[in-house]
Symmetry: C2
Subunit: 345 residues, 2 copies
């Protein structure tokens, strides 16, 4: 049995929205000491049994081993500066700093600019709902889900290990260890662009003369295709603009493809190229015993992770972070740390 310290020790959470609130509930539920702070949700969080500090300085007094920045992307820079100031007032406190932002390179930049780059490991839980705020948070949202955990050439392996132990231990999740760039490229494809297209579908209906009729006829394909379009548009916009460098090329590709398809439709030209192109992904997602998770409420997030693959073992020696990035770039994930090794599948 590993001790709490081995699992990542105590955790401070700055921001108790949907993700921060769910993280606090899940960690506390798993027996991890948690202290959180969020002026707008303090009362509700205390009512939910969480320990809540008045502000970042108050959280710093508790000297948690890991501090998670769980604030909106636009607030990362300011909160990182607050944390840096609190740190200077707590000599000897040596926390690892991580976050739960949906884009990683800009968060590393913000945290580094605050002087916390050496302490930082990026993290992104791949789960969510179209709702926001502490009142939408739940103990289940972040349990057993896939995470991306990001590092850079200078990342302290001990800090990376601490975050991996939190994710794969009390949170029961898996972690793809990646560079910020790999994360941001993949997240553009499977999260940010899906959010954009959901907004496009809603926007096209909003501007159509047959809007009300169309909504009356809307069924499963529209409901599912637009679900995340019901999210707070400012949250979606921040996610997309912060990852502009990776999102824009995927949108240009989509624009070109859709224009080409429209031309083919207008001229009765072949359209197989468009509808057959996803075959390799359809096959992967539909594989028996494979990846598609079913039976979930459409409002819940959950990974489409593989099951039943072979287990791979990487010793936590040498430049093991780089080794994990290589494996995870190819689709592997860490599901446990044991006896000085990372177990991947």
């Amino acid at each position: 049995m590993s001790t709490l310290r081995e699992q990542g020790g105590s955790v401070g959470i700055v921001g108790l929205g949907l993700i921060g609130g769910s993280l606090a509930r899940a960690l506390q539920g798993a027996g991890v000491p948690v202290v959180a702070t969020d002026p707008s949700s303090a009362e509700a969080a205390r009512a939910a049994g969480l320990t809540v500090a008045d502000d970042v300085a108050g959280l710093a007094v508790q000297r948690p081993d890991v501090v998670v920045l769980a604030v909106p992307l636009r607030a990362m820079r300011a909160v990182a500066a607050e944390l840096a100031e609190a740190l200077s007032g707590e000599p000897g406190w040596d926390p690892t700093v991580t976050d739960v932002g949906s884009v990683k390179a800009p968060v590393r930049e913000a945290v580094s600019d605050a002087g916390l780059g050496d302490r930082y490991v990026g993290a992104h839980p791949m789960s969510g709902t179209e709702r926001s705020g502490f009142e939408a948070s739940s103990v289940e949202l972040l349990q057993g889900i896939p995470w991306a955990v990001t590092c850079a050439p200078g990342t302290d392996p001990a800090r990376l290990e601490r975050v991996l132990r939190l994710v794969t231990g009390p949170l029961g999740g898996t972690a793809a260890v990646l560079t910020d760039e790999l994360h941001d490229e993949a997240a553009a494809l499977v999260s940010h662009v899906p959010h954009v297209l959901a907004n496009q579908l809603l926007g096209a209906v909003a501007g159509a003369p047959v809007r009300d009729l169309a909504l009356r006829l809307a069924a499963g394909s529209f409901r599912d295709g637009t679900r995340v379009g019901l999210s707070d548009p400012r949250r979606t916009e921040a996610m997309v603009t912060e990852n502009a460098a990776w999102v824009a090329p995927v949108l240009r590709l989509a624009a070109r493809d859709l224009e080409r398809l429209a031309e083919a439709l207008d001229s009765n030209a072949p359209t197989h190229w468009f509808f057959d192109r996803p075959d390799s992904v359809r096959e992967r997602l539909g594989r028996p015993g494979g990846t598609r998770v079913t039976g979930l409420h459409p409002g819940d997030g959950a990974g489409l992770s593989d099951v039943g693959s072979d287990v791979d073992v990487v010793p936590l020696t040498g430049d093991w972070p780089a080794e994990l990035v290589t494996r995870c770039a190819g689709g592997a994930v860490v599901f446990a740390l044991e006896d000085g090794t990372a177990l991947l599948r």
Copy 2:
């Protein structure tokens, strides 16, 4: 209590795939006499307790009051011709012909070319799953769902009424009475284009260097945004190509919007216009007591129909089909026929 005859009488179903099979199960479950035919599913359908004729001629011998063409769009023309031939061998048989195709104008053309235009009323159940075939059919799929029912200037009101009684009676559904064009325009927005964008999302990942990693990180937004992209690509392609005239302009609009958004992202220009545009639809779908149906399995189709609206009554006299089209074009639906009137909400 209305008699079965008033509810639409007996029903013949040509084609026992996902929709035809579900229709047969639902009608039979509601006590409506059903005879069906489909060479590829006959055995399974008989095992499920359905009455199955060997072919269209065998179905014609049973002289059902309504014949539903529940075959793929590409087979409509051939099956309509088969039915016309069977009709000529059954003097005095006077069935109403309808269908369940996802596009309406091309089906009316096919049926009219077979000489069945005077008997025809178009229908489209707004429900489905990404699966296909009789084995995917269920008694629930078409129960209590929104339908589009389409007519043209020459439509026989008695035949329209018969189809409306089937939809709102034993099937427990609602019907938007529309022209083919109104249906095809709205269906492009809420069904056909969502299917195209789901294929676009899958296709972009299929072609990406980080494909396997991206699928590992994929969560709720990708799962929901691509669900219908797992459908049989030939079925999706047929739906889209048959409705090319309405789909292509919506795709061009999307291509233009996405290109514009990419440009804004590249140049740090404002993007509010894109993310705020769906506000009117978000408001409608999120309205308390409003339209969003929750708690459904993502694989099931179901309408986002309004509840709690006022009831409107249209007497079935004069040119009532045109009156219903006017009301339904604005977002109303028929939920019952009673005492010589249509009840709308």
